[in-house]
Each structure stands twice: as structure tokens, then as C-alpha cells.
């Protein structure tokens, strides 16, 4: 027997077998619930509201937990509740994982599955005793028109496997980019071809396992960048390696170790052997790419800030130290310039910016705000030092977008705030800051030049949290950096805001960024809000696109080479425009 489960607010209806656990159903439907305690009914983070229909029964423990959170009687824990009849549920935002990778709509586009790694099954013929062929010959005959490249290690392993199973008739050739023979595996292993996509962020790293036969994502895991102990931000890590070159290897080992732990965990969890993973695609900023490969960052550290590479062919995995098949490859998404890295080129691929008709902005908001402007066929990129205010750093009560962070605010007689996961407010994250300041401006608690009015000299957020004058100044600096970047890019391309057909907003803000509020502060120009597209973690989405499609990779490399770079600091108008932009003001020209 099955029941109809309606999910609000999206309105999707699922057919569910009776007795199934709600969280399993929702996870299968692609919703990433917050299941911190591992579905043990302990953390109370996966609450759902049963709007109509069969209210699942609740255990005493569940009732106590819900009561403690002061939730109405129609709330349940998704990891405990069973579907026992037709029902409609609403999933509160806080029950979904905050800032987990969102597969941008860009990748759902008509991306044909065409990975670099392909497996082809072959049949060995019985050797002719009179004139026996060499073992490798049946493979060479299979690809008569290709000049095969292979490593000695590939050949050795093939010979060793052959010794173990001399009579095997079935073999599988693993080809890279249709010309390189990575491996010859015994038996028919064509059904098992996996790849790894990595979003190598300065703070967070996300690793995703994909099936290269179907293009489907199998699982993913997120963790902190294990280089954090050498410094929280890009510059401090560059400095660590710059000031003491012996640290370069430490930084490399740290991140490779961290990645391998995550990859290992994913593979074990999904019962995939590392020998079936022949490729990893990494999208990260230029500095992170260099540090992963153990390349010196000396030239990145000081003017003219030169990277060692922009576009690279895929590298032998064994040299990179990544624990996938030692015969596999690691591909690094191309860096556009020193401060506009592979995370951005991957992001452009994820939204397929190149093929969007018209003029678009792509904005990735982080400590370094990267902005790319597409004016018809012409691309210009810049980076602007927004500083870590949007990540909660440099703000007296700031924090990352983690449970307990005020991420949303509005006004109803007084300031009303919402926290991530509904936990007691512990601090304010970037989107919360923007909301609070927008409300304060609207209500006249702050003047447009950013001065807190009134005797208290602070903006009360909750009983325990408040923003002070310096906090507002930090946000002004961050907003002005982004705004000035956008304005100069537009001006250099002889464009006005009205010429834009859309703005892609990538980065940690995700869907939580309040559009009218960010326009009120001047972070984004005023355009029709339907033209603003949140693309979430476009770096990961792009890494996946580059893993699943080699043609897309070639397009991405070409685009990276084509993008012009604009250095804001060198721009004569930057200072005047920046100072002007410090005032909170909506703008469209």
C-alpha cells in the first residue's frame, strides 16, 4: 500500500510505500536534511511540520524533544516519523543542511555525458601457438588508428594481472581522452567507472563521488580545509609558504591528507574501490591550486602577482598524492588569473555563461569577491578585496553560517531575527548582517553614511547580540568593494546596469541573500529581481561538469584564456568610486 506525500512549499507529491521513515523518503527525493545525530532522534534538527493528513505517532522521547523546542503538536522528527497515510508536510528551512552544495541549474542543462575516462571491454583471442602475439597486441589491434600513450606502470600492472589470470578472455581498457591507455583491467569492469569532484575552498572542502557511466552523483562529504592551521585566509597561507619555503610541503601534505581522508571515507561508504576511480577534478582558487600541487607561491605573493600556471593538462594522480587509482589523473580547473581562479572558471561552466544570450554578471561573494562580466562575447574579470566581514570575521558578534547564526532579519514592531537550525542565537552571519543593516537603515537607526544614530551607539540584534559602529564600517567596506568592482567593470565595458540581462550570485550566501535588502545597501545594483539567479556552490557544480564532460573542459579552458582581467587597484578611478560607494545607497547607474 502506498500514500501520497506532498512537500510544501515546493508542492511536489511523492508516492511513498506505507511505513517508510520520512527522512529516508525525503533524502531519496534529493532533499538534504540536517541529520546531525545520524538519524538517532537525538539532535532534533530534522523537524518537519505535518500540515495536513495522517499525523505520525510520536515516541515519548520525541515528544519531550519537540516540547523542549516549544514546537506545536503537529511537528515531528523526520528521522523518526513513519508515513502511515496521505499527508502534506512543510520542511522548515532550518531543517535543511545549510549551505550544502546546490546543484546549479547550469549543470542540469543539456550537458552530454562524455567523461575523459572511458572503459572499453575487450576480448582476448586464444594465442596461436605457432606464432603467439604479445599480450598487449590485442589491445593495440582494437585501436588501430590511435597512437596509444601508456606508462610503464600501466604495462607492468597489466602483465602482473595477466599472470594471475592467464586464461582470462575478458579485459577492460581504461582510456583517457581517447588516446592514453591508463590501465587494462581483468574482466569486464565497464560497469564500474567513478570520478571525484572537489570544491577546494579556502575554508571548506567538498568532495563528491560520481558515477561516470550515468553522470549521477552518488554521495558527497564536506569538511574544513586542513590547511586552516597555517592561517584562515588565502594571504596568510601564501605568507606561510612565502616566508618559510619549507612550509610549502607541510601545506601540501596537510591538504592532500585531508582530501584523502574525505575521499577514502566516501569510497568506503559507497563500496567503491579507489582502483575504480581514474579521475579527480579539482576547482579551487589559484592559491589553493598551487598549494595542493606543492608549487611555490612566491610569484603569487607580491606584485605583479603571477601564477605558475593557468591551464594545465590532467596530471598523473600518483604524483599529486591523491588516493584514487595511481594510474589515474587529476585535473585542475583552469585559473583565469592570480586572483580569479579555477573555482570561478568552473563556476562559469556550471552556469554555462558562455552560451547565455546577452549581458551577464557573475558574482562570487567571499573574502575575495570575484566578478565576471559577460558583454555579448567579451568577458572581463576582476577581484575585489571584500574582506571577511560577510563571513562574520571582523564583526564583533559575527560568525560563519553555522547553526545558531542569525541569517535572516525583518521588522515587525521590532527587529525579528531567524537563526540557522532554529538554535538560540550565537552570532550573526553575512546574510543576517545585510538584513539587519537594511532594516536599521529603513527605520532610521543608521544614517546612509553609516553612522549609528541615537544614544545607544549600537544596533540591538537580540538581548545578547548587538552590532557596533565598527561592525557597520566593516560592512560598508565590504559592500563598497563589491559595488565598485561591478561599477568599474560595467564602465570599462561601456555598459549600464539596465544593459544587464541577469546577475548570477554564487558563493556561501546561497539562497538566503535577501535581494531587496542587498540592493538597498548597494551590494547588488537595482535590477528586476527575476534577473537575479542564486547558483550556490557553483565551484563544485562546475567541477562536476568538467568531470562529466571533456568537451566542456575544453570550452572552459578556452574561455579561461579568453577572459580579460581588470586590476582594480591599478584603476585610476578606483579610489574615488570606492569612497563614494561607502555610503549605503541603492544604485542602478
Amino acid at each position: 500500500m502506498s500514500h501520497a506525500l506532498k512537500i510544501l512549499p515546493e508542492g511536489r507529491v511523492l508516492k511513498v510505500a506505507s511505513g517508510k521513515i520520512l527522512s529516508d523518503v525525503l533524502e531519496d527525493a534529493g532533499l538534504r536534511l540536517s541529520l546531525y545525530c545520524g538519524r538517532r532522534g537525538l539532535c532534533g534538527k530534522c523537524i518537519v511540520e505535518i500540515v495536513r493528513g495522517a499525523l505520525p505517532s510520536a515516541s515519548d522521547e520525541e515528544r519531550t524533544l519537540l516540547a523542549r523546542r516549544k514546537l506545536p503538536a503537529n511537528y515531528r522528527l523526520a528521522c523518526r516519523a513513519r508515513v502511515e497515510g496521505d499527508m502534506a508536510i512543510r520542511i522548515p528551512l532550518e531543517s535543511l543542511l545549510p549551505h550544502m552544495p546546490v546543484l546549479s541549474h547550469g549543470v542540469g542543462r543539456s550537458l552530454t555525458l562524455d567523461p575523459a575516462v572511458k572503459k572499453i571491454s575487450l576480448s582476448a583471442q586464444k594465442p596461436d601457438l605457432a606464432s603467439p602475439d604479445a599480450l598487449l597486441d590485442f589491445i593495440r589491434r582494437r585501436f588501430p588508428n590511435v597512437e596509444l600513450h601508456l606508462s610503464l606502470e600501466t604495462l607492468r600492472r597489466f602483465a602482473q594481472n595477466h599472470q594471475l589470470a592467464p586464461a582470462a578472455a575478458e579485459w577492460t581498457a581504461v582510456l583517457y581522452a581517447d588516446k592514453e591507455l591508463l590501465a587494462i583491467e581483468p574482466g569486464d569492469t565497464t560497469g564500474r567507472n567513478f570520478g571525484i569532484a572537489v570544491d577546494l575552498g579556502t575554508t571548506t572542502v567538498i568532495v563528491e563521488l560520481l558515477d561516470l557511466n550515468t553522470g549521477k552523483s552518488l554521495d558527497s562529504t564536506a569538511g574544513l580545509n586542513t590547511q586552516v592551521k597555517y592561517g584562515a585566509d588565502v594571504v596568510s597561507r601564501i605568507t606561510a609558504a612565502y616566508a618559510d619555503p619549507s612550509k610549502l610541503e607541510d601545506l601540501r601534505t596537510a591538504i592532500v591528507g585531508g582530501l584523502n581522508e574525505m575521499v577514502g571515507g566516501l569510497l568506503r561508504r559507497n563500496q567503491v574501490s579507489s582502483d575504480s576511480v581514474y579521475e579527480a577534478v579539482v576547482a579551487g582558487n589559484t592559491a589553493m591550486n598551487h598549494l595542493l600541487l606543492g608549487l611555490p607561491v612566491t610569484t603569487l605573493a607580491v606584485s605583479p602577482y603571477q601564477a605558475v600556471f593557468s591551464v594545465l593538462p590532467a596530471l598523473p594522480a600518483v604524483e599529486s598524492g591523491l588516493a584514487i587509482s595511481p594510474l589515474g589523473r587529476v585535473y585542475i580547473a583552469p585559473n583565469i588569473k592570480s586572483f580569479v581562479g579555477g573555482d570561478i572558471s568552473a563556476g562559469l561552466s556550471a552556469v554555462d555563461l558562455e552560451h547565455q544570450k546577452g549581458n551577464f554578471l557573475f558574482v562570487d561573494l567571499g573574502t575575495n569577491g570575484e566578478i565576471v562580466l559577460k558583454r555579448r562575447a567579451r568577458f572581463t574579470a576582476t577581484s575585489t578585496a571584500a574582506g571577511p566581514a560577510f563571513e562574520g570575521m571582523t564583526i564583533s558578534c559575527g560568525m560563519l553560517a553555522l547553526p545558531g547564526a542569525v541569517y535572516k532579519a525583518g521588522f515587525k514592531d521590532r527587529l525579528v531575527v531567524e537563526t540557522i537550525a532554529g538554535e538560540p542565537a550565537r552570532g550573526v552571519c553575512g546574510t543576517g548582517l545585510i538584513d539587519i543593516i537594511a532594516v536599521a537603515l529603513e527605520k532610521g537607526f543608521i544614517s546612509a553614511p553609516g553612522h549609528i544614530l541615537g544614544p545607544a551607539k549600537k544596533i540591538e540584534v537580540t538581548n545578547d547580540l548587538s552590532l557596533n559602529q565598527q561592525d557597520i564600517r566593516e560592512v560598508q567596506l565590504a559592500v563598497a568593494a563589491v559595488k565598485t568592482g561591478i561599477r568599474i567593470l560595467l564602465a570599462k565595458n561601456k555598459m549600464a546596469v539596465k544593459d544587464l540581462d541577469g546577475i548570477y550570485v554564487a558563493g556561501a550566501f546561497g539562497n538566503y541573500l535577501n535581494i531587496p535588502h542587498s540592493m538597498k545597501l548597494g551590494l547588488l545594483p537595482c535590477i528586476n529581481r527575476k534577473k537575479i539567479f542564486f547558483v550556490g556552490n557553483s565551484s563544485l557544480a562546475g567541477a562536476k561538469a568538467l568531470l562529466l564532460s571533456r568537451p566542456e573542459r575544453i570550452r572552459c579552458e578556452r574561455l579561461a584564456n579568453r577572459v580579460r582581467h581588470l586590476s582594480l587597484a591599478k584603476d585610476a578611478e578606483f579610489q574615488t568610486m570606492f569612497i563614494e560607494a561607502l555610503e549605503f545607497k541603492a544604485w542602478n547607474s
Binding site: V235, Y242, A243, A301, P449, K457, Q476, A569
Partner: protein
């Protein structure tokens, strides 16, 4: 006398509010009334920029307000310059400064602000710009017989060049000739004392205060 004080108050007010036209008009009026240009600067305008500084430190003023005040000072100086040069009186002068963003670093908004605040407060400032070769700092300082060398760095990597410059001065036996002030976002008081600089300013006003304190080695020129 009273009208003179009133005029000085108006001058200060014009600078505080960033009213450039008013500041210029008042300077012209002072000239037509044959006031001593040195006194006009010292008693009329400087208190204005100092008040702007106080408002900045209280958090009421931010960069735009401060820059308008500095712009006023610049405009006033331009009006008064011929009279100052012709003046027989002892010149209001606090010292000669060479300032720039250090080699390898192209960020210069903060440095520009310090430069304009120093000029607004009566220093002779030569701004070498950004990504300034270390040799150039030394050459220029020697050429103009500077009192102060001010080094800005906005990156933890380029900050290391502040140390190098001080070492170069030592190697050449020039360290005693110039005072060296350092500043910039990653720079701290600790860093300044580690590398043997003469001082560190947290912001433009502290830089001015410091420059006045340790400033001219030869008093009024």
C-alpha cells in the same frame, strides 16, 4: 579681533563639514584682509581637520567625510600657497615626509589617506605611489633630506619588505638620518618594534599624531 576669531571658527567649520567652496572663499577673504597665512592655517583650518579626526575616532565620521575634509585642506593650501611663500614670517611647517606603498604591493587607499592627512596637518609630503622600489624610497629621502619615511603594506607578504628597507638603511649607515613609520592593515605595533621601526599608526590620525611627536628633527623651518 573678534571677527578674526569668528572667521577662524567658520574656517574650521567649513573643513569639518567638508564644504570646499566655503573653505576656499574664507581663505580668499583672509588674504584680502591681509591676515598672516600661517596663522590662518594654524588657527583656522588645522583645528577643523583635527575636529574631523576626533569625529572619526568617535565613529561618527568615516572615510568619505574624512576625505572631503582633507580635500578642503588641499584646496585651502592652494589658495594660500603664494602668500605663504611670500610671507617673511616663520613658516608653519612640521617636517618632510616620503611616503609610499612598499614594493610588491599595489594597494594604496590607506596610504593616500595618511598622505593627505599629513599634508593637511602641515607636513611637506612626497607621495611615491604604490609598489615603490625600496631603492627609490631611500634615494628620494636623501634627495629631499626627509625627516620621515612612511611605509605602507597591505599584505602579510609585502609587509616583509618594510623590514628589508630598515635593514638597507642600517647597512648604508643611514638609519639615524630618517625616522621610519610603518602602517597598513596587517601591520601591528609589535611588528613595528620587531623590525626596529620608529613607530606604527593604527589609522591616519594616529599616524599624524606620531609624526608630530617623533617628527621634525630640526624644529620649525
Amino acid at each position: 579681533m573678534e571677527s578674526k576669531d569668528r572667521l577662524f571658527n567658520l574656517m574650521a567649520e567649513a573643513v569639518v563639514t567638508g564644504n570646499k567652496e566655503e573653505a576656499e572663499t574664507l581663505a580668499k577673504r583672509a588674504l584680502s584682509e591681509k591676515f598672516d597665512p600661517n596663522e590662518v592655517i594654524e588657527k583656522g583650518y588645522i583645528p577643523g581637520i583635527q575636529k574631523a579626526g576626533i569625529l572619526w575616532e568617535k565613529g561618527e565620521y568615516f572615510l568619505p567625510e574624512l576625505i572631503s575634509s582633507a580635500e578642503c585642506m588641499k584646496a585651502v593650501m592652494a589658495v594660500l600657497k603664494p602668500a605663504l611663500e611670500a610671507s617673511q614670517a616663520e613658516r608653519f611647517f612640521r617636517g618632510k615626509v616620503v611616503i609610499g606603498t612598499i614594493e610588491g604591493d599595489i594597494h594604496d587607499i590607506g596610504k593616500n589617506l595618511v598622505a593627505s592627512m599629513l599634508s593637511a596637518n602641515g607636513f611637506d609630503v612626497v607621495d611615491l605611489g604604490a609598489d615603490v622600489n625600496l631603492e627609490r624610497f631611500i634615494d628620494k629621502a636623501r634627495e629631499m633630506d626627509a625627516d620621515l619615511i612612511c611605509l605602507s603594506a597591505l599584505l602579510t607578504t609585502t609587509m616583509l619588505n618594510q623590514r628589508r628597507l630598515i635593514e638597507m638603511l642600517k647597512e648604508r649607515g643611514l638609519r639615524q638620518q630618517f625616522k621610519v613609520l610603518v602602517g597598513g592593515a596587517p601591520v601591528t605595533k609589535r611588528w613595528a618594534s620587531d623590525i626596529g621601526a620608529d613607530g606604527y599608526g593604527e589609522n591616519a590620525f594616529e599616524a599624524v599624531r606620531l609624526a608630530k611627536e617623533i617628527g621634525p628633527k630640526r624644529g620649525l623651518a
